[in-house]
Amino acid sequence: MRTISADEVIQNIEFELLQSAVSHDDLGAGIQSVRQYQNRVREKLLDLSRDTKNGREIIIHLCQINEMLITVIQELNTALHALQIEVRKMARLAQVKALYGSAGQAAQAGLQPEEPTHARAIPVSDIERAMREEALHLELDLRPAAVPLIGGLVKKLKFALHDLVLFYTRQLAQKQTAVNRTYGEGMMYLIETCEQQRMEIDLLRARLAAVESYLEIRSGNTRSG
C-alpha cells in the first residue's frame, strides 16, 4: 500500500477549504427540486383524466415556480460572489508570490490554495426546457354532460365557460413564460459567469506557476553566477 504523507493530507484539507466557497451540490439539488416540481405541476395541470383546473390554481403554481427560480438565482448569486472572492484571493496570492518569490512567505499571508478547480457542470438543459412556451401550454379538457335532454346545451355552456377560462389562463401562461425566460436567462448568465470565473482561476494558477518557475530559474542563475 502506498504511504500517505502528512503534506498530502494537508493539501487535501486546503482543497476542502477552497471547495467550501461554492456549494455546488446544494445548487444542483435546488435546480433538481425546481425541475421536479415543474414536472409534477405540468402533469397535474394537464392530466386529461381529471377536471380542468381553474385559473387560480394555475396561477398559484406558476407563482410557486417563480419563487423557486428566484431562490435558485439568489443562491447562484451568492455562489458567484464567493467565487469572485476566491478569484481576488488568487490574484493576491500571485502578487504576493511575485513580490516575495517564496511559497512559504505567501503561505504565511494565509494564501495557500493550489488545487485545480473541479468545475462541475450545472444542468442547463433543464433550465432551457423550463423556458419554452409549451411547458405551460394548456389544452381544453371537457367531458360530455350526462344530463338528459339539455345535455347538449350544458355542454355548449361548459365549453364557452372553459374556453373563457383558458383564454385568460393562456394569456397568463404566456406572460409567465416570459418571466420564466427572463429568470432562465439570468441563471444562464450567472452560470456562464461562473464558468468564466473558473477559467480565470485556472489561468491565474497557470500564470502563478509560470512566475514561480521563472523566479526559481532566476534565483538559480543568480546563485550559479
Binding site: 500500500m1 504511504t3 500517505i4 504523507s5 502528512a6 493530507v9 494537508i10 487535501n12 484539507i13 486546503e14 476542502e16 477549504l17 467550501s20 446544494d26 445548487l27 439539488a29 435546488g30 427540486s33 425546481v34 416540481y37 387560480r56 396561477i59 398559484i60 407563482c63 410557486q64 419563487e67 423557486m68 431562490t71 435558485v72 439568489q74 443562491e75 494565509g110 495557500q112
Partner: protein, 769 residues
C-alpha cells in the same frame, strides 16, 4: 464585514426593545449592547405597564437610552411607538430576554449595504437551560399562518408543505431589522396582534408592497425565554388562545389578500383551534394542567376563534396612519441619534446571559477578550480530563470578564450557557475526506476538525472571536489552524502518539494522527504547555524545536474548596481504617497494575487499610481484556482474591461523590506511568490530602517530593508499596504534607491564576497579529 470607516455617513441603527416586567433580562441585554462592535446606534426602550424594577434599571442608563411608555400590554403598539421615535436609518428589534452576538449590528449593516434590502433577520439560538435548540433560522411562513422556522439553507424545502398559496420569509421578533422608511410606508405593525404573528404579518405586507425581505444565516441572537404576562416559564398553563386569536386573524386577512380559497382559510382556522384543543387534552392527560385549566383554555380557544374571525372579516387593520409615515420619513437626519455607547463601554466585563450574573472583575483595565476554546467532550454531560480542564479555563476566563465560547461535539446543533461559557454543540459529520476512510481515527478527526472550523468561521464573523485555543488531543483545531482565519493557540496535553507508545500500538492510522499533531504544533500561532516536562517531551518525540517566544508554560488550576470543607488528617483519630484512594481510568497508563501489585504488600504490613478505586474500567480500549479475558476488577479478584475484601471498586462516580471520596480519604495514590500534568493530584491537595505519584511527565512539577507527597519511579510496585507504608505509618506527616499541599495549591494552582496566565498569553498573541 462592513468597513465602517469606508462610508462617508455610516448607516445608523435604532435598536428598539419592548419590555414589560423583565428588569433582570433587560439589564443583561443593555449590558451586552455596550459591547457591540458597530457604534452607530441608539437604544429605545418602550416600557409596557410594568410592575417591577424596569424603570430603576433604565435610570442607570439615563442620558443614553430613550425611554418611552406603552399604556397597554400590546407588543405591536409598543413596537410602533419605538418605530415612531426611531431616528436611525435601520430599526432593529430585539427581545428584552435576548443577547445579541458581538457583531450583530455590524453584520446587519453589511446586509443593508444592499439598497434593495428592506428587512432581514438572523439566527435565534434558544439557550433556555432545559431546552436548548435552534429556535429560528431562515424560516418561511405562508399566508395561512403555516410556518417552518428552521431551515439549513434557502434551497431546503423549495416546495413547502401546506395549504397557503403565498410563502415568504418568516421574521422572528427576537431578531429582525427593517429600513425605517420601508416600515413607515407600510404602516408599521398591525396593532390587532397583541403578540405572535405581528412580525410575519409585517413581512407579508412588505413583500406585497414590493420590498425585499431576506433573513440570513448570520447575525445570531441568544434567546433566554423569560416569563411574561402571557406565559410563565416552567408552566404549561398560559394564554395560548392569544396565538389562535392572532392566527385566525392572520389567516383571514392574509389568506384573502393572497388569493387563498375560502375553504382553505376556513379549514386552516379550524385546524388552529382543533390543534390547540388536542394539545390541551394531552397536557391534561399528562397531569400538566388541571381539569379546570383545561376547560378555561379550551373556552379561550372558542373566544379567540370568534374574535379573530370577526376582526379578520369586518375590522380594518390597525396600522399607523400613512400621514404619520410620510411626515416622519426624512424629517430627522440619522446624525441626530442618541449614541448608546460611551467611553466606558469597552471596559466592561461579559455577563452571564442566563442568570445575569456579572463576573468577578466587572470593569477591566483593558477591553475584554472574545475567546473560543475547543473540547470535544465538555461538562456537564460527558467529559474527560481535557473537557474538565477546558471547563476550568472557561470559568476562570469568564470571571476575569472575558466572553468565552466553547465548541464541543453534540447530537444536534444547539447553544447552551454553562458556567461562564457559551457552549456550541455541533454534530459530528462524516461527509468529507472519504479518501481516508480506511484510517478511522484520521477520518473522524479530519471531519470533526472541519466541522469545528466551520463553526469557528461563524463565530469569528458574528461574535468577533479573536483567538482559538485547541488541545493537541484529537487535533480539533487542525483545519482552523491551516485555514489561518484566526490565530490558534495549541494546548499541549498528552498526545495520541504518547498513548499509543505506552500501549504498544503501531498502525498507519496512528502514524498519520501523530503527523497531524506535529503539523498542528508547527502551524499554531503559539503553544501553551501545562508543564515544562510536557513541552520537552513533545519536542523530543516530534523532533521539533519550538522557538523561544512561541511558547509559554501555564500550569493548570482548579477551584479551591472553602476552608471549612477541607479534612486534613487527624493524628489523634482512633476509630476507622486508614483509607487510600485511587482516582483515574483503570488502564495500563494510569499504573493500575502497579497499584494492584502494591496492595498485597501494604495489606500484609497493615491489614486494616481500606483501598478505594474510583474510575471507569478501560480494559477494552487498552487491550487488557483482549489479552487476559478479564477486566481490571475481575483480574484483581482472580489474582489477589484474599485481599478483595479490603479493596472497593467504585467504577465511574458522579462529581459530587468524587469530591466526597477525596474528602474522606487519608492518602491519595495515582502511580501513572505518564501524566502531562495530573489534575487528580491537585484535587486531592484541595482537600489537604498527601499524594503519591511517579517521577514521570509533569507530575514532579505538581507534587513536591517530600513536602506535599512522595514520588516513586514509574512501574515500580515495590517502591510504591514502600511509599504508601511510609506515610501510613507516620500520621503526623500525613497531616503535615496534606496541609502543605493545600497551601501550594492556593499559591500556584487556582483556576483564576491559571486563567490570568492564559489571558496574558492570548493578549500577547493577539497583539502580535
Amino acid at each position: 464585514m462592513v468597513t465602517i470607516e469606508g462610508r462617508a455617513t455610516p448607516l445608523t441603527f435604532s435598536v428598539v426593545v419592548n419590555t414589560t416586567d423583565r428588569a433582570g433580562p433587560l439589564q443583561t441585554l443593555l449590558h451586552a449592547l455596550e459591547h457591540q462592535s458597530y457604534p452607530h446606534f441608539e437604544v429605545i426602550v418602550v416600557v409596557g405597564p410594568t410592575r417591577d424594577d424596569t424603570l430603576k434599571v433604565l435610570s442607570l442608563y439615563e442620558g443614553r437610552v430613550q425611554v418611552l411608555h406603552c399604556p397597554a400590554a400590546n407588543l405591536s403598539r409598543s413596537r410602533n411607538i419605538g418605530l415612531l421615535a426611531a431616528r436611525g436609518d435601520i430599526v432593529a428589534y430585539i427581545d428584552d430576554d435576548a443577547v445579541p452576538c458581538q457583531r450583530w449590528l455590524e453584520q446587519l449593516a453589511y446586509l443593508f449595504e444592499d439598497p434593495y434590502l428592506a428587512g432581514t433577520g438572523g439566527v435565534v439560538y434558544m439557550i433556555y437551560p432545559q431546552e436548548s435548540r435552534v429556535q429560528h433560522r431562515i424560516g418561511i411562513m405562508s399566508s395561512l399562518f403555516e410556518h417552518k422556522d428552521v431551515r439549513t439553507s434557502w434551497l431546503e424545502h423549495l416546495t413547502p408543505p401546506g395549504m397557503g398559496c403565498q410563502w415568504t420569509a418568516r421574521m422572528m421578533g427576537t431578531n429582525m431589522a427593517f429600513r425605517r422608511q420601508a416600515l413607515l410606508e407600510v404602516g408599521g405593525f398591525d396593532e390587532f396582534f397583541f403578540y405572535i404573528g405581528e412580525e410575519t404579518d409585517l413581512a407579508l405586507r412588505m413583500v406585497r408592497a414590493g420590498h425585499v425581505i431576506h433573513p440570513v444565516l448570520e447575525a445570531p441572537v441568544y434567546h433566554v425565554p423569560a416569563s411574561s404576562r402571557h406565559r410563565r416559564m416552567f408552566s404549561y398553563y398560559g394564554k395560548w388562545w392569544l396565538q389562535t386569536r392572532s392566527g385566525v386573524y392572520f389567516a383571514i386577512k392574509n389568506g384573502l389578500s393572497a388569493g387563498d380559497a375560502v375553504g382553505n382559510i376556513v379549514l386552516r382556522c379550524l385546524h388552529l383551534v382543533h390543534g390547540h384543543w388536542m394539545d390541551y387534552g394531552q397536557l391534561w392527560r399528562e397531569h400538566k394542567i388541571t381539569l379546570a385549566q383545561l376547560w378555561i383554555m379550551r373556552l379561550g380557544e372558542l373566544y379567540a376563534l370568534t374574535i379573530g374571525t370577526l376582526a379578520g372579516l369586518f375590522a380594518k387593520r390597525r396600522l399607523l396612519p400613512r400621514s404619520t409615515g410620510e411626515s416622519a420619513v426624512g424629517t430627522e437626519t440619522s446624525a441626530s441619534i442618541l449614541r448608546f455607547q460611551n467611553e466606558q463601554s469597552t471596559l466592561q466585563g461579559a455577563v452571564d446571559p442566563v442568570s445575569g450574573k456579572p463576573p468577578l472583575l466587572r470593569e477591566l483595565p483593558a477591553p475584554p477578550l472574545r475567546l473560543c476554546l475547543l473540547s470535544s467532550k465538555y461538562p456537564p454531560t460527558h467529559y474527560d480530563g481535557v473537557g474538565r480542564l477546558t471547563h476550568l479555563m472557561a470559568k476562570g476566563l469568564f470571571e476575569l470578564g472575558h466572553t468565552v465560547h466553547v465548541i464541543t461535539c453534540g447530537e444536534a446543533e444547539q447553544v447552551t450557557f454553562y458556567d461562564g461559557a457559551y457552549v456550541h454543540h455541533i454534530p459530528q459529520q462524516t461527509g468529507r475526506y472519504s479518501m481516508y476512510r480506511r484510517f478511522p481515527n484520521l477520518f473522524h478527526i479530519l471531519n470533526y476538525s472541519h466541522t469545528v472550523y466551520e463553526k469557528v468561521r461563524r463565530l469569528v464573523a458574528n461574535d468577533g472571536v479573536q483567538i482559538v485555543d485547541s488541545p493537541i488531543w484529537q487535533c480539533e483545531g487542525l483545519v482552523t489552524t491551516i485555514s489561518g482565519i484566526v490565530p490558534t493557540v495549541v494546548r499541549l496535553v498528552t498526545t495520541s502518539r504518547q498513548v499509543a507508545d505506552l500501549h504498544g500500538e503501531r498502525s498507519e492510522d496512528l502514524r498519520l494522527l501523530a503527523e497531524m499533531e506535529r503539523t498542528l504544533i508547527e502551524r499554531a500561532s503559539y503553544v501553551l504547555s501545562n508543564t515544562r516536562a510536557t513541552l520537552e517531551f513533545v519536542q523530543s518525540v516530534y523532533q521539533i524545536e519550538i522557538p523561544a517566544g512561541q511558547y509559554a508554560v501555564v500550569p493548570y488550576g482548579i477551584v479551591p474548596v472553602a476552608d471549612e470543607a477541607i479534612r486534613p488528617f487527624d493524628p489523634e483519630r482512633q476509630a476507622g481504617p486508614l483509607k487510600v484512594l485511587y482516582v483515574g481510568r483503570l488502564e495500563k497508563r494510569k499504573g493500575i497494575l502497579d497499584l494492584f501489585r502494591a496492595i498485597p504488600v501494604v495489606l500484609q504490613a497493615i491489614p486494616e487499610v481500606q483501598f478505594i478505586i474510583a474510575g471507569q474500567d478501560n480494559s477494552t480500549h487498552d487491550g487488557f481484556l483482549r489479552r487476559t479475558g478479564m477486566d481490571y476488577p475481575t483480574y484483581f479478584a482472580h489474582r489477589y482474591g484474599s485481599y478483595a475484601s479490603r479493596v472497593e471498586f467504585k467504577g465511574m462516580v458522579s462529581d459530587e461523590a468524587l469530591q466526597s471520596l477525596y474528602q474522606s480519604c487519608d492518602l491519595f495514590v495515582a502511580p501513572s506511568l505518564y501524566e502531562s500534568f495530573g489534575l487528580i493530584y491537585l484535587e486531592a491537595m484541595n482537600y489537604a490530602k498527601p499524594v503519591i505519584g511517579c517521577h514521570a511527565g509533569g507530575i514532579p512539577e505538581v507534587v513536591e517530593h517530600g513536602v506535599t507527597g512522595l514520588l516513586v519511579d514509574p512501574g515500580a510496585p515495590k517502591a510504591l508499596a514502600e511509599a504508601i507504608l511510609t506515610l501510613l505509618r507516620a500520621p503526623a506527616r500525613l497531616r503535615e504534607m496534606g496541609l502543605a499541599g493545600r497551601q501550594r495549591l492556593l499559591e500556584k494552582f487556582t483556576y483564576l491564576q491559571m486563567a490570568h496566565q492564559f489571558e496574558q498569553a492570548y493578549r500577547a498573541v493577539i497583539a502580535r497579529q
